[in-house]
């Protein structure tokens, strides 16, 4: 096995991004897999030797992350999204076309590719495809077979704004000729907030962010300024900032846009946040299925470094994930950044005290951090004037499912109801079908039944309605959707993504999936509905990380709101 010297130089450079010998493992796995096509024993041992680790430390990582393979795949690896929005949009039909393609092709299903608004989505190697149809798929495959190569797939154009939107974070992206380059960003006033921030004391920025009352956009909605103020001080250790760009919550595809179309906004937010929190190094953890986004960021960082933005007050590095939803959970993410299996940590201690590399760490979502330049530039009062108390500012929401205009939108929080969003902004449901229910914030959040759609879209109103704003990923379910089937699809996601540490989550998610299969196939008894609820309840609140809840809540909510559908399915054969 030989490693080209250029690749080894790249590897040596990557290694300098991390303070521990283990942390670069995922990067090295990516680079070697890109070169050799797989990670066999030789590759694993090479990485172990390179990083002075035991081979088993590399191997355990390889087997945890689905993007890594120990066996050579076909030259063209087709990955079709299996998850809810794509499932509803017919991903099964795509899979049916992909039989017997020959040894050059490997076909797999993958979980939500963060393109639910353009479902069904798929990837071939590093190329990403939106709005697939069986016909288009046939053509792509035929082209590959004819030419023996894979054509580049262009990145989709940004969506224009709807009149009801209030675009702040998305303001630049549809400006004519805007490319997201440093020059374009600066032309729109970019990096002025950073200049201003660097004249401010860190505490002043923290206070401004606190006063803006911005809440985290990653899912939990925790007040951002407060989180920053929890950071342990005077520990003698460095502080780290981590940008969570793992965007994997089914139904969510907003961070992808912020990264692809306006990366410098994010970088500026990170640099300001580093100054505010005292971090000298920031990592952007981007999910493995966004190779394009990773390149956009790497290039943007290079541009910003050349201009003296990056590298002066703080360094920013990109860390690639490798196909595990659990890396979105902040302590799973930290473990993964450290080059390990993404096993969420037991809390306390929280990352603000003991986080990345044992140091105080802040983890923030892409959208949260992209807001920071605007808050610093325009002030907390300006920010707070948008939205409603408790939910200040704008928020990106993502709508998928059978609506006329699915996509991402930016609104002032609390100023629009779910019904207005679906009917006025998205143009209503396709084919005049009735809405059966709506998932309001990624598939982990409890479904809202159709009679409840007049809730305003903000944190508190949704909480009062018995659900949560979550990640802003809205999935519309219409009357033709089988709830049993949808529940099964969602449960399959969590069973696939459970890290396996906790008994209730590891076993429970599998059992929910198995039982839902039985119910769907009509092989179950009526008692199974209660048993299903009980298993979900046993996971809820009893696990190391909130993935347990994320798996339990949708099942419990579907059961509560559509119980008769489950009972009917049970009785089909019995």
């Amino acid at each position: 096995m030989t490693i080209p010297s250029e690749l080894e130089r790249h590897i040596d450079e990557i290694i300098t991004h991390y303070p521990t010998k283990r942390a670069p493992v995922l990067w090295l796995c990516h680079l070697l897999q890109d070169h050799f096509g797989f990670l066999g024993q030789e590759q694993v041992e090479w990485i172990a030797t390179k990083l002075s680790l035991q081979p088993i430390n590399v191997w355990e990582v390889v087997t945890f992350y689905p993007m890594f393979t120990q066996k050579l795949r076909g030259k063209f690896h087709i990955k079709v999204c299996r998850t809810l929005s794509c499932h509803l949009a017919g991903s099964q039909k795509l899979l049916e076309r992909l039989k017997d393609l020959g040894a050059d092709f490997t076909v797999d299903t993958v979980e939500c590719l963060a393109s639910c608004g353009t479902a069904p989505a798929m990837m071939i190697n590093d190329e990403h495809y939106d709005s697939m149809t069986p016909e288009r798929l046939d053509k792509i495959v035929a082209d590959i077979k004819r030419t023996g190569t894979l054509a580049k797939e262009p990145i989709a154009k940004p969506l224009p704004a709807h009149p009801l939107e209030k675009r702040v974070l998305l303001a630049n992206i549809t400006k004519p000729g805007y490319t997201g380059s440093l020059a374009d960003y600066e032309k729109e006033g970019g990096y002025q907030a950073l200049a201003k921030a660097l004249t401010m004391k860190p505490e002043e920025i923290v206070n401004e962010v606190k006063n803006s009352e911005i809440r985290g956009r990653g899912g939990a909605g925790f007040p951002c300024g407060l989180k920053w103020s929890f950071l342990a001080k005077n520990t003698g250790k460095p502080t780290y900032l981590v940008c969570n760009a793992d965007e994997s919550e089914p139904g969510t595809f907003k961070d992808r846009q912020l990264i692809n179309y306006d990366p410098h906004q994010l970088l500026e937010g990170i640099l300001i946040s580093c100054h505010a929190t005292g971090a000298k190094v920031a990592y952007i953890y981007i999910r493995g299925e966004m190779p394009h986004g990773a390149n956009v960021l790497i290039n943007a960082i290079a541009e910003a470094r050349a201009k003296g933005y990056v590298g002066k007050t703080a360094e920013i590095y990109v860390h690639r994930g490798a196909g595990a939803y659990i890396c979105g959970e902040e302590t799973g993410l930290i473990e993964s950044l450290e080059g390990k299996r993404a096993y969420p940590r037991i809390k306390p201690p929280f990352p603000a005290i003991v986080g990345l590399f044992g140091s105080p760490t802040v983890v923030n979502n892409v959208e949260t951090l992209s807001n920071i330049p605007h808050i610093v530039k325009n002030g907390a009062a300006w920010f707070k004037a948008m939205g409603v108390p408790g939910s200040t500012g704008t928020r990106l929401v993502c709508v998928s499912g059978p609506v006329k205009r699915p996509g991402y939108y930016e609104f002032e929080m609390g100023k629009l109801t779910m019904r207005q969003l679906i009917e006025d902004v998205c143009g209503g449901v396709t084919n005049g079908k009735k809405i059966k229910g709506v998932i309001p914030g990624g598939s982990s959040m409890p479904v809202m039944p159709a009679n409840n759609l007049d809730v305003p879209l903000d944190f508190e109103s949704l909480r009062k309605a018995g659900t949560m704003a979550g990640s802003g990923g809205i999935v519309v379910l219409t009357e033709d959707v089988s709830i049993v089937d949808a529940t099964l699809n969602v449960s399959q996601f969590y069973a696939h993504e459970s890290c396996g540490q906790c008994t209730p989550c590891r076993e429970g998610t599998l059992w929910m999936e198995k039982m839902l299969h039985r119910i769907k196939d009509g092989h179950s008894r009526p008692e199974d509905v209660d048993l299903l609820f009980e298993v979900a309840d046993n996971i809820d609140g009893k696990t190391i990380c909130p993935l347990g809840e994320a798996a339990a809540w949708p099942v419990k909510a579907f059961l509560k709101n559509y119980r008769s559908e489950f009972e009917k399915a049970c009785n089909k054969n019995g």
């Binding site: 088993i56 430390n57 299996r341 459970s498 540490q501 008994t503 209730p504 076993e507």
Partner: protein
């Protein structure tokens, strides 16, 4: 240390800040069910059996992984928690194959089974999955049946944190999680497993099991005796399980101040799980053949042949494994036997010439921030010491310098390894830099440090610390009780051929006792065979048949470790007790008694 007080199940409990709820509960006599928790291992918090409620919050937190907070109120038992624990057990029982009657480890001490009984799990409402997972029976002593694994990771953590080799890990993700050996190989082909068996002791189910103990019924029904391993100078505490006077299993004694429950493969398995031919009656050579005879006949034969010999013509060459009590007897025999020697490893005689014991040496190694191994081979000879060295390096970042001729697995953890001690300046400069600033250095040396070069190296090393904390200098002999025997005045002999030819010897009585090779190691020096053949009379006193017994005119059966009583002194100077686990096999007798009757 900050004292904290909390209320657990209505009882006022005190502990120290930083302790987990479980630790404080246990210390205060409150039992909480557990599966993945194991004392002295980092918490895992995954099984969720130990869940408790704090301050009325509906969140159930794992008490094994949650630090207790002052003034909190904890509930460990109520209907809801019992219900949740039951559900968790049901999920575990249904995940893989837990059909207890066909488990190799239906030992009545399977934690899963016990919990199942306790919570009254009689029927599982979830359909069984019955995956067909592999069973690995390739290991020399241990087997792994994945079908019975509950993924508690106690084995993984033990292998990593106690034995320090990290052979085991978890592969895959979620419900596909599976314990793996190295890069998904088997125990039989593992390149890192030391066969210490600690993972088996840690496993709460029948997933990891000792092949020799399988299907012997519950260990709880066995007789349990605590005794001491006499395979090396560490002197680990053992708990031996027997049934009908057969050893069913051997575990480390958790209460031993020496090894705290950990063992190496020699103490754990080699002494009993390896088949050896035991000598059960005295044997006398008749017409070229060794034939069984009575003790009386054997003793008479010896007396007839050697009784009239001059003292100076008689030699007694003994194993360094003998107990302190036998050493006492040997001291009395000096007047009757011209030459008494104890055969030891190469260069070990010098180590024995001024026996030094370092009290608390083991703890010092455990706490060290720099360890120098000079002319010693803990991996091969004192497995438990090697484990401490590995964990000191891997877990606490201790520096490690190895100066030893042979390679061992420890080399891969070392900052500096030299197989030939160098006298070069640059080398010693590097050693000095590596060890600089060490607060708790330990210099562990073995017999091979007793060469001129080794002694130079030792002097150089000690000099390196002139201006800082001097190292704890710990000598570790290869031979179990050599230091104590030497202390009792028995000369150590590391060149047997020379010893045999040094006096006007005509008869030699060799006490190999229960050395697992039957004492054959003294024949390694080819000359010795010829020399022994030239003697008028050779008596071998041993427990196992070997090439040595083949050379004897009379063979006398000794006791093995599990039949012995007495004491040995470990390298720290601790006097450790041997307790008989079972009665002597056949006509075997205690070494002391044999010597007394031969030389009466």
């Amino acid at each position: 240390m900050n004292k904290i007080t909390l209320t657990i199940d209505g009882k006022q409990c005190t502990g120290t800040a930083g302790q987990t709820i479980l630790e404080i509960a246990h210390a205060n006599g409150i039992a909480i069910p557990t599966l993945c928790y194991m004392k002295n291992l980092s918490p895992w918090g995954g099984c969720r059996m130990c869940i408790v409620e704090i301050g009325g919050s509906p969140k159930a937190v794992p008490s094994c992984a949650t630090p207790a907070t002052d003034g909190s109120t904890v509930v460990t038992q109520n209907d809801r928690l019992t219900h949740l624990r039951k559900l968790t057990l049901e999920l575990l029982f249904s995940e893989r194959n837990h059909i207890c009657p066909i488990c190799p480890m239906n030992k009545g001490d399977c934690d899963l089974q016990q919990n199942g009984y306790k919570f009254g799990i009689d029927a599982i409402r979830y359909p069984y999955l019955y995956p067909t997972l592999p069973v690995d029976l390739t290991g020399k002593f241990l087997g792994l049946d994945h079908n019975r694994c509950i993924l508690c990771t106690r084995c993984v953590r033990t292998c990593d944190e106690v034995e320090g080799v990290h052979t085991l890990d978890i592969g895959n993700r979620g419900v596909k999680n599976q314990i793996v050996v190295d890069l998904n190989t088997t125990f039989g082909t593992s390149t890192t497993c030391t066969n210490c068996g600690a993972c088996v002791s840690a496993c709460p189910t029948g997933a990891l099991f000792d092949k020799n103990a399988a299907f012997h019924g519950p260990l709880t029904k066995c007789r349990q005796v605590r005794t001491t391993c006499t395979e090396c100078a560490v002197g680990c505490g053992l708990v031996v399980y027997t049934k009908e006077n057969r050893i069913v299993d051997v575990f480390g004694d958790n209460d031993s101040p020496v090894n705290h429950g950990h063992l190496c493969s020699r103490g754990r398995y080699e002494t009993w799980a390896v088949k050896r031919n035991r000598i059960t009656t005295p044997l006398v050579r008749k017409n070229g053949q060794l034939v069984p005879v009575s003790w009386d006949e054997a003793l008479q034969t010896i007396r007839k042949e050697t009784g009239k010999m001059l003292t100076q013509n008689k030699g007694l060459l003994v194993s360094g494994k003998l107990t302190n009590e036998v050493a006492g007897t040997l001291a009395h025999l000096q007047s009757q036997v011209g030459h008494i020697g104890m055969y030891v490893a190469e260069h070990e005689a010098a180590l024995c010439s001024e026996p030094v014991f370092t009290g608390d040496a083991f703890q010092r190694i455990t706490d060290a921030d720099a360890i120098i191994v000079l002319g010693a081979e803990p991996s091969r000879l004192q497995g438990v010491v090697a484990a401490r060295i590995r964990t000191a390096v891997r877990k606490r970042g201790a520096k490690l310098v190895i100066l030893n001729a042979r390679t061992s697995d420890l080399d891969s953890y070392a900052d500096i390894v030299a197989h030939v001690v160098s006298v070069e300046r640059a080398f010693w400069k590097r050693v000095g830099e590596t060890l600089q600033g060490a607060q708790r250095p330990v210099l562990l040396y073995g017999p091979n440090a007793m060469t001129p070069l080794g002694i130079t190296a030792m002097e150089k090393l000690i000099k390196l610390f002139e201006n800082g904390n001097g190292p704890a200098v710990v000598g570790i002999p290869t031979t179990t009780n050599a230091l104590a025997l030497a202390g009792a005045g028995i000369a150590a002999v590391d060149n047997v051929a020379q010893w045999l030819t040094s006096g006007p010897l005509r008869a030699v009585h060799i006490v190999a006792a229960d050395e697992t090779d039957g004492g054959a190691k003294i024949l390694r020096d080819r000359e010795v065979v010829g020399l022994l053949k030239g003697f008028n009379y050779v008596v071998v006193q041993a427990a196992y048949e070997s090439r040595l017994t083949e050379l004897a005119q009379v063979v006398l059966p000794s006791l093995v470790w599990s039949e012995k009583s007495g004491t040995v002194t470990n390298f720290e100077g601790r006097e450790l007790l041997l307790r008989p686990v079972m009665p002597p096999r056949g006509q075997a007798r205690d070494d002391k008694m044999i010597l007394e009757s031969v030389f009466a």
